[in-house]
Symmetry: C2
Subunit: 199 residues, 2 copies
């Protein structure tokens, strides 16, 4: 590091803090910044500051939002009777990009993980139950990941919502479209068999 | 992209301009920035601006430098009679990190590449010849990469310096230390044989 001119060394150090970015890649990125126009560099720096300043959580669903309420929640064409519960904003974006869901969301911002000290009070469970208590909701789709913690969270939410007059469903687990059974792991195959549907 | 809140979408777009960073990685990096402290984000943004503002080329060797003359050129302990010619500042850093070279450098900032319209006037050839003409230099080590263009540039520089009373040498090409002959390509093996030295 000490071979670099100090401002460059500082930038490399800052970039190397990114997950998955080692010192070599950081040096390559820093070099790119060094050679791009001052205008481009300024825009990058500004958008870093802007994102910290302007992005907040939607008051309703806790999606990332520029305003008080996110575009999904403020869209009058969305079906307010269905809430799809996801772990994080990326899952929400993936579902939105699939283009098949027209209801609302609820972003937990985490999953239950007792070993890491993450209990229901650390994720947006209380807020979900309050939304459901509101009365307009008819179905809650649990779309946490099909991982150990995602499943545990789904089971917990299902129980928490059991006394409410709302349908609680879980997304299907199975062999992905375009996937090949010979490359699917045993758990996925077991789930695919278990979740089979009459044609 | 449109699924992201606008400031986040802008940051992702800026980050995706980096070489080797696609949209998914850019989204991951943007997410990291979103979740780090405002202080950390500010430091990153500032170091981007700082690098554009403060880094310039050393007046002597064209290495990246914070001041007018780079630390190598201003170090009185370096041997001013040897100049090692490299393609770019990264090559200089790699050589410095090897810890075996005590002379000065000359950074060309490119290699001859007629197909891309890069002739001698586009890289720092004239400045090298002027440095050599100064008289203090006894040896010029050509350390451009052992690629087609690096070799062509080395041959060109060798000819340009031929009339000067200076020794012109070329770094060795061969099997890298720790390398295995069975994985070395034919060209490298040919060069390693050609460059063999009596033990």
């Amino acid at each position: 590091m000490s071979r670099y001119a100090p401002p460059l060394a500082r930038l490399i150090k800052e970039l190397a803090r990114f997950p998955g970015i080692g010192e070599k890649t950081a040096a390559r990125l820093a070099n790119f910044i060094l050679h791009e126009s001052a205008e481009d560099a300024r825009r990058l720096a500004e958008s870093i500051l802007e994102v910290k300043e302007k992005i907040r959580l939607c008051r309703v669903c806790f999606n990332l939002s520029e305003g008080d309420v996110c575009p999904v929640c403020s869209d009058p064409d969305r079906d307010g009777t269905v809430i799809c519960v996801v772990e994080d904003p990326d899952a929400l974006i993936a579902l939105e990009e699939s283009g098949t869901y027209r209801g609302l969301y609820h972003v937990l911002h985490g999953v239950l993980s007792p070993l890491d000290g993450v209990g229901p009070e650390k994720i947006r469970v209380r807020e979900l139950i309050e939304r459901v208590r509101g009365g307009a909701v008819k179905e809650v789709i649990l779309a946490t990941n099909p991982s150990v913690q995602g499943e545990a969270t789904a089971v917990f939410l299902m129980r928490s919502l059991a006394e409410k007059t709302v349908r609680v469903s879980r997304i299907a687990t199975g062999v992905p479209v375009g996937g090949d059974l010979k490359y699917a792991d045993r758990m996925t195959l077991a789930k695919a068999l278990e979740g089979r549907r009459v044609m």
